[in-house]
Amino acid sequence: MTASVLARPQGTTTPSVRKPGRRLKPGRPIPLGAAIGPFLLLSVWAAGSAAGWIDPRTLSAPWTVVTTTGDLIADGRLQDNLAISAQRAGLGLVIGTVIGTVLAVVAGLSRWGEALLDGPIQIKRAIPSLALLPLLVLWFGIGEQMKVITITLGVFVPVYIHTHNGLRSIDSRYVELGESLRLPRAVFLRRIVLPGALPGFLLGMRFAVVNAWLALVVVEQINSTSGIGYMMQLAREYGQTDVIIVGLVLYGLLGLLSDGAVRLAQRRALSWRRTLAD
């Protein structure tokens, strides 16, 4: 609809005998709609704090959080901790995504791959990460390596499951097309399997990015002197409610932003789709 010389039918069609069909689609997106919910949440929080319904000892007021954030930035703690955390999360995210995708393709396209990989991955997923941590410490020590591996483990699972599921859900008509064209496996993978599994993969990425941040809470309790997980842990030990809430707000923001980034990628990469959302 680029450089359109035509207007949308909206106004001009109105003098029609019936309404333009029962609209079952959700309709046009509300401008900045995604901001409404978080904004409302913020308002309730602010109003509750101002009116005194929220005990500042358990949930600091938004303005306290703002000033605390200011202090934390002023003495450099926030950005330093965030930077080091972002580095860990980013590294784990990249490695986990690659591993998850590769395993999903292997398990998705070969019954033996599935037989060998799928069960252990389901088991891994079912085991609480807090309980797994001692084993990881045992195998990978208490250094940076262990931290990145733990994040990787948290990331690769949703990528694997979603990509595997997406891949297995590809319409068999397209697989038949590939067979009828005698596509070599590599072409089949590149042209049919990967794009067909892309919606699943991207949904998995929405979980993966958030998991990467969440894993920090666990790994940065172990032998860390930096990172937002460490910062929050310390604040909890010292009972610094305002710092804890800064951490929570930060998590919320990071989650919203990372998720939003993946959804943007989703919208771009899947522009060929015509769905209920359009």
Binding site: M1, T2, A3, S4, V5, L6, A7, R8, P9, T12, T13, P15, S16, V17, R18, P20, G21, R23, D278
Partner: protein, 245 residues
């Protein structure tokens, strides 16, 4: 508007005024005007890509995401047969047919409609267990079972063999005689257009290029010279040299 025409109200009328529809910078319908009387049976011909489906979708009010303008009046109760069969893959055949029906006898009517299109006994099949022509007939059954005031059909017989196609013609004619819906039928088969319609339109370059009223008795045949004349006119308008056709 409420003038009574032999038991039918003028709400069966279709009016399209200065309709513009396009994709990107390319106009597909460009100031298109059309009036179809209540109970009229109109066939629409046109080159592949000429905008037939675009017009039908506009009439059905399904193109809110398409650029354009214009005025459209259509009756409230319309049915659409899409160019693809568009069966819900997760509903069995009978459930697909009765999708738009309400009332206690919906299933009964659905069954009857399926029998009419020659698919009795396939009620419980999944759509993707049907052959192409069978799927198309289910879609036809779904559109007819609701007894619409306006039937918008986009090549509803395209995947049918000659005999089945004739049977479906009979079915459509019978329904038409019973309820007198307004019909707009897209087809590529000139013979089919001349056999079934009161009026044949040819869409070209976003406008109506030919508007031919078919003045033949209900029983029509290739043997009638007028039939062949109509046929030839239309084929020539479509650009087909008759000796080839």
């Amino acid at each position: 508007m409420a003038t009574n025409l032999g038991g039918l109200t003028a709400t069966g009328t279709v009016r399209v005024h200065r309709l513009v529809r396009g994709f990107g910078s390319r106009a597909v319908l460009d100031g298109f005007d059309l009036e179809i009387g209540a109970g009229e049976f109109v066939a629409l011909l046109g080159r592949s890509g000429s905008g037939k489906s675009t017009l039908l979708r506009a009439l059905a009010g399904l193109d809110s995401d398409v650029d354009g303008s214009g005025v459209i009046e259509v009756p409230e109760k319309s049915s659409v047969v899409f160019q693809d069969a568009r069966l819900l893959p997760w509903q069995r055949v009978l459930d697909n047919v009765v999708l738009g029906l309400r009332g206690s006898n919906a299933h009964e009517r659905g069954r009857a409609a399926l029998a009419e299109v020659g698919l009795a006994g396939r009620e419980n099949a999944w759509p993707n267990e049907l052959s192409g022509g069978e799927q198309q007939r289910v879609a036809l059954a779904r559109a007819l079972v609701s007894e619409p005031e306006l039937l918008l059909a986009d090549e509803p017989f395209g995947a049918l063999d000659a005999l089945t196609r004739l049977r479906m013609h009979d079915l459509l004619r019978e329904l038409y005689a019973r309820h007198r819906p307004t019909v707009l039928l897209v087809t590529h088969d000139v013979d089919e257009a001349v056999t079934l319609a009161d009026r044949v339109l040819l869409l070209d370059s976003g406008r109506i290029a030919v508007d031919l009223t078919i003045d033949l008795p209900a029983q029509r045949s290739h043997r009638q010279p007028q039939f062949l004349a109509y046929r030839e006119t239309l084929l020539r308008a479509l650009g087909v040299n008759h000796s080839e056709g």
